[in-house]
Subunit: 325 residues, 2 copies
């Protein structure tokens, strides 16, 4: 019997809900007060009507789960939630175009809907970083910077086991480091030119490779691939294909210089690399570290580079950690 | 009568010593427990024999001052000291070439020499940043980044009123941000090429102007100056001289992009600009802010840029603040 289950009708432990709100689905987890995951499930993110159903749906799912498990509101230590937008330290969202949300207090709203007093809200990338630092690839380090290489480039800065939020919730926005001030062509979603995420995201890497394939008729094993995604590019890079190597090195060069900037500001214990690209394994951290080391002063050399380990669960773990902090 | 003076033979208040250790002189201050400066003086930094006299000299000066004022060791709340080298959180210096020091605990040594239990040690740039955040240009902001534009470019990151030290004491080393990865010519003292301090220090600005004067025979009021230092360059820039304007804009362009990197990582409340260059007044912060705004995403725009206010006293104030924190 798990220590959290009822024994003679008495709940022995307290519970925490960890929630990771995404644009398509909401990942939800029930945890014990030690941070062990007891159960996880998903619900759909209903974005209609400016996203006004989202928090009521989450609250209903939590209330239902508590009812099912016989958990009273007084036995819930807290709810943590990661939200895909800028969040202030007191739990207000400052606009979240992706969900249709304007400016309001997510913490107050969720408190009201569930009756749970302690509600902690963070930006989803920051919350995932906290999860990885606590239970994932950053385990054992107090201060890490997590870099998520997916469609875009996300970041989260954890200092002494806590999220660094920043004045406008924009700390760790490393995807928008201007790594190419001379860029004239590529405009980022943020409106600027030369942002890191234009080069070092999965889509950036695909674009770099596609352009190299198109510009010349140099032989490359990539020409035999049905699709040329990050997976194929890294596979052919590992196999020694010259064009794939150039593409990966260009992708890593921008990331290396971006992370050298990050290090000069916060000097973290380690970098944790996550997101779709990180699924290609140790060759990802190796090539990034190689480019990083070229651009940092001696005091910042020999940093640890780790792969993320929690995948899609990182956000739920981080959300729980916010409640426990 | 000051509230800290003896009244009927009893010391009413506790005292703190704030020390700013520089390569030429040591600035020392006696403060009350509210952080008011009661007295300040300087002693010479004796660097002979690998700097082994420095801490005994500081301790002797503190002990003498306490004796003079009738302050017992038990009435000293603590000693804070800023040191020009990388310092770990527990007060060890990790080599300080400038003073001839290797690796040892400054905190332990000073504790032993003075009998004062609480000794706090920080990197001098970080400690000055803390002083400015507490009592200077950063007053009223919780999180600031201080930028010192002197012979080099120094930095200090203050988050929620505390120094961000980093794993190797290298957080805030913004003078070594690689702002020009394409640089082939200028090698920084750190061994890298393209460091911010090659362009945006007082010496960087002087070099930029000197090169522009030498490369062409364009007219410039700078040609009438006996010396062309930062002071003259900013004066002629304010007067509208074209060549001086180009020099200042180049200096500020690199600084603007460097600070845009800093903002994307920590999203501070404000930047505080100090060092010799900052003595040229508001036109310094204005031109830096202008270049900064061009290179940051919307969420990081409209940052506060303030001039430092404490000058050479910043380090002493910050040292005292470390003791009070």
């Amino acid at each position: 019997m798990h220590k959290n289950q009822k024994k003679g009708g008495n709940v022995l432990e307290k519970y925490i809900y960890g929630v990771d709100l995404g644009g398509t689905s909401v990942k939800m987890g029930l945890f014990d007060s030690e941070g062990e995951m007891l159960e996880k499930w998903e619900i759909v993110t209903r974005k209609e009507n400016s996203g006004e159903l989202i928090l009521p749906d989450i609250a209903a799912s939590i209330n239902e789960k508590s009812k099912e498990k016989g958990i009273g509101t007084e036995d819930v230590l807290g709810i943590g939630i990661g939200v895909p937008g800028p969040i202030t330290e007191d739990g207000r969202v400052l606009k979240c175009a992706n969900l249709g949300w304007g400016i309001f207090s997510v913490a107050d709203k969720l408190r009201e809907l569930t009756g749970v007093e302690k509600v902690k809200v963070g930006n989803d990338a920051n919350v995932a970083a906290l999860g990885e630092q606590w239970r994932g690839g950053g385990r054992g380090f107090k201060s890490i910077v997590m870099v998520t290489l997916g469609t875009g480039v996300g970041g989260g800065v954890i200092i002494d086991g806590k999220i660094l939020t920043g004045k406008n919730g924009a700390a760790g926005e490393i995807g928008h480091l201007t790594v190419n001030p001379k860029e004239t062509r590529l405009t980022c979603g943020c409106g600027k030119k030369g942002c890191l995420e234009q080069y070092s995201s999965a889509s950036g890497l695909m674009r770099i490779a596609a352009e190299k394939l198109k510009e010349t008729d140099r032989p490359s094993t990539l020409r035999q691939c049905e699709q040329v995604t990050g997976r194929e590019i890294f596979r052919e890079y590992e196999a020694g294909d010259e064009l794939a190597t150039e593409a990966v090195e260009e992708f890593a060069w921008y990331l290396g210089i971006g992370l050298s900037h990050v290090a000069a500001v916060v000097d973290p214990d380690a970098f944790v690399i996550g997101g779709g690209i990180s699924k290609n394994g140790p060759s990802v951290t190796e090539v990034i570290k190689k480019e990083y080391e070229k651009n940092v002063m001696f005091a910042l050399q020999n940093k640890e580079f780790r792969l993320a380990e929690l995948g899609n669960d990182a956000g739920m773990y981080g959300a729980v950690r916010m409640v426990l902090n």
